[in-house]
């Protein structure tokens, strides 16, 4: 076994929560390593920051709805985090994106009102903070919409999207533009790379322009560039002479990749380290303290010593939690105690897909300090926290971002790190 590598903090998981916590701690001078099996939530999600979308009716202002939402749910992560922490986290996040590697690319919005943006199926999804490239898609009046797809992209069907938008009282229609590609299918990432190319954009705009009518705004799948999306988006608006907006697609998510790239760049700029392709196999402990993580990297075991650990491994979708065929739920990295797990004999899931799913609220049991119960120096952030149903509430990124942001502060102030300083 190789000798231990010593860090102040080891963060497990490279989703929004893990990258946010790690970056913020690194910015404060801590020696931070992020250990991740692979990319996380970013590449699956829409790339928006959803704080509170449904309660259970559609929320128009998270700022107004959060106090009652929190008061009714003492076990919800937002109760633990506090509403004020959300604003701090959102501001921190927006700043990091603006400073990021994609010039001019930024997020807009705040907690005062949700954007209602169309999804690829044409539903209206509420988000607090959205990439500027999506903002013109806001529903609820405004110019008519022309939803534009390309046949090679299977994750976007413009006529269905437009037909559903039209049902909400916004005039909309779908068209398909033919592009020259040498293959029958191209995913969102492949298309985004092409949109980074000005020649491709010029050609695309020239093909699309004749089919646009009146004062339509143009909805495109969220594939307008990965390296320089602001340039791609601005260029298309200029060429078409009308507002253009992106609509998130099913995975892979290009806006999510941009977000990941920006946070990773911020982490590196602050001196943090990201090690992908690693799986945490176990931990070394002294009493209730975890002193090191044993990690399998490229088939070799390495030990990362750390004074504190931030667990940001996500829930069942990300593998942070697992339910065995013995119907026992486990936290997969450290075997931490859980909360919110349906008791033996009570229903784990319900028969109605959109009905109550009790298992969805399971998570790692934490103190108000986000410290995992029965540990002295393991903190939890993101979807591993119990008590939420992120997709149903439209709260996923809000919880991940805020809990990651707040965990950084709590770790830095904790005994584990203070003792080291």
């Amino acid at each position: 076994m190789r000798p231990s590598l010593g860090y102040d903090v080891a963060v497990v998981g490279a989703g929004v929560a893990g990258l946010t916590a790690a970056t913020r701690m690194a910015e404060s001078g801590a020696r931070v390593v992020v250990l991740a099996k692979g990319v996380g939530s970013t590449h699956l999600a829409a790339g928006t920051v959803d704080v509170l979308g449904y309660d259970p009716d559609r929320v128009s202002s998270p700022a107004r709805s959060l106090p009652a939402f929190v008061a009714a749910r003492p076990d919800h992560p937002y109760s633990l985090l506090g509403v004020d922490a959300i604003t701090l986290a959102l501001d921190w996040f927006a700043e990091r994106i603006e400073r990021g590697p994609q010039p001019g690319y930024r997020y807009v919005g705040d907690l005062e009102r949700n954007y209602l943006l169309p999804t690829a199926v044409g539903a209206a999804r509420p988000s607090a903070l959205v990439p500027e490239t999506m903002a013109e898609g806001a529903l609820g009046g405004g110019r008519p919409i022309c939803v534009v797809g390309v046949r090679v992209l299977r994750e976007f069907h413009p006529t269905l999207c437009a037909a559903n938008i039209a049902r909400m009282g916004v005039a909309a229609r779908g068209v398909e533009v033919k592009i020259d590609v040498d293959r029958p299918e191209l995913n969102a990432l492949g298309l985004a790379r092409r949109f980074d190319d000005p020649v491709f954009r010029r050609d695309f705009a020239a093909r699309l322009a004749p089919s646009l009518e009146g004062d339509e705004r143009v909805g495109l799948p969220a594939v307008l560039g990965l390296r320089d999306p602001h340039a791609a988006w601005s260029d298309l608006q200029d060429r078409l002479g009308r507002p253009v907006f992106e609509i998130p697609t099913p995975p892979p998510s290009v806006p999510g990749m941009r977000l990941f790239d920006a946070l990773r760049a911020a982490l590196r700029a602050a001196g943090g380290r990201l090690v992908m392709g690693t799986r945490v196999m176990g931990a070394e402990r002294e009493g209730a303290r975890v002193t090191a993580l044993r990690v399998d990297t490229a088939g070799r075991e390495t030990t990362f010593g750390a004074r504190c650990v931030v667990l940001a491994t996500g829930g069942f979708a990300s593998g942070g939690l697992a339910l065995g065929s013995d119907w026992v739920v486990r936290e997969t990295v450290l075997g931490l105690p859980l909360r919110g797990v349906p008791t033996a004999g009570s229903p784990r899931f319900g028969a109605e897909y959109f009905g109550e799913q009790p298992m969805a609220r399971a998570g790692v049991a934490v103190e108000p300090s986000q410290r995992a119960e029965q540990t002295e120096n393991v903190f939890v952030a993101g979807a591993a926290l119990p008590g939420a149903e992120p997709w149903r509430e439209g709260s996923g990124e809000g919880i991940s971002l805020t809990s990651g942001h707040r965990a950084a502060e709590l770790v830095l102030a904790s005994d584990g790190l203070a003792a080291a300083a």
Binding site: V152, P250, S253, A317, G324, S325, F349, Y353
Partner: protein, 519 residues
Amino acid sequence: MAALSTDVLVVGGGATGAGVAWDAALRGLQVVLADRADLCEGTSGRFHGLLHSGGRYVVKDPRAAEECIAENRILREVAADCIEDTGGLFVTTPSDDPAYADRFAEGCRATGVDCEEVEPAEVLREEPRLHPGISRAFRVPDANIDAWKTVWALARGANERSGARILPYHAAVDIHRRGDRVTGARLRDVRTGEELDVEARVTVNATGAWAGKVADMAGLEGVQVLPGRGIMIAMNHRLVDTVVNRCQMPTDGDILVPIRTVSVMGTTDVHTDDPDDQTVAQEEVDAMLEDGEKLVPGFRQARALRVWTGVRPLFQDAKEDVASTRDVTRAHTLLDHAERDGVGGFVTITGGKLTTFRLMAEETVDAVCRQLGENRPCTTATERLPGSEAGEHYQLGERLARREDRLRDDQLVCECELITRNKLEESMRRRGTDNLDDFRRALRLGMGPCQGGFCMYRATGIMHSIDGLTAEQANDALLHFLQERWKGVWPILYGDQLRQARLDDWIFQGVLDVGHLER
């Protein structure tokens, strides 16, 4: 109201009903085939996929064994393309009574089921995942049969040979009775509510576990079918490449059938009063996983894809007391109501098993011809089904080979099952249905590991654009599919399949937010 007349009206579009339609069409009769749902949506599409060698019945029910082996040989010829010749094994695991093996071998000899004892070591070389403690092993000609493909081939063949009308989603709402004759039925299109009167010289009740209900509609009492409900679990891999049976008296969880890209563990047997009962009990799932461990150690760690229930149609003689449905005869029952009740123009066929559907159809159409007073010999034992003309069995990997030939020509809609966009669009145009679940059965759309997570948005978008559906219809189709899928996964959500389900939730509830589509 629309009306039409025909020689034979077949109510029930499972393997038996479609088999009757094909048989009657080959004998030159005009046929209408109706089902309240999609063809093969009931019991025929809800079994484990086994083409019996008969081995399962050699000790318990020799007559059933003889029927199975005879039909097995015939179907391998006439429905070759629907069958994958996996072969079968009966193995004595440490959990089985070792004395049964000799009785099994003797039963095979007595019933003519081909059977060869092989060394356990040889079997373990071929099927290394099997329990290493196997003490005896016998090779039999079990195989798997794709019921959906078979039933649609039968229906298509009936249509091609004699213009048979195939009417899925047409429920029989009334059986017409004129004195001591049944003269046809009123059908209702369950999608549109439109009704259709079919006048038939003979009506065939081929509704399996629902046969009693349809007979009641004709005013014929005492047709009692005892539904026996069983669950099956499809595992995400071919844990074995040969059908594997436990060598013991028939019981729960005694068979693992490799079919297409999965293997199916079956089954349980619980009496139910309601043939539409699709309950999956937790204890049944646990018991099935335990039984899987006895055949393939580590079974519980494998990924379960889907669970479903089927109801066996077991005909009961009302005069006898029956404690367990497993003890009711698996053989089929033909009721010629002219002989039984003095009511002509009506025949009920029920019981039996998928392997013997052709024989059941033959006997049924023989009865139909007796009632019509016409002598028309059966030819289904030698006529090959559409698609099976070449007489070659389905090979696992056929789809992949076809796909690899045309990688650059067409996009894939469903990666798991290698379904191309042209294939899906062609099927959508031909079938004219907006139920995405129909394409699951027809093409295996959404049947793979992601259970529709990636292909269902695509399929909905494609259907909306080519079919001229309204957004509401497209949304309903998608939401209906998601609910149907959930029904089959939530009782077995653990391990990687739970992770997959949450990823799918992320796509549908998160990124697409389909739960909040404007209603």
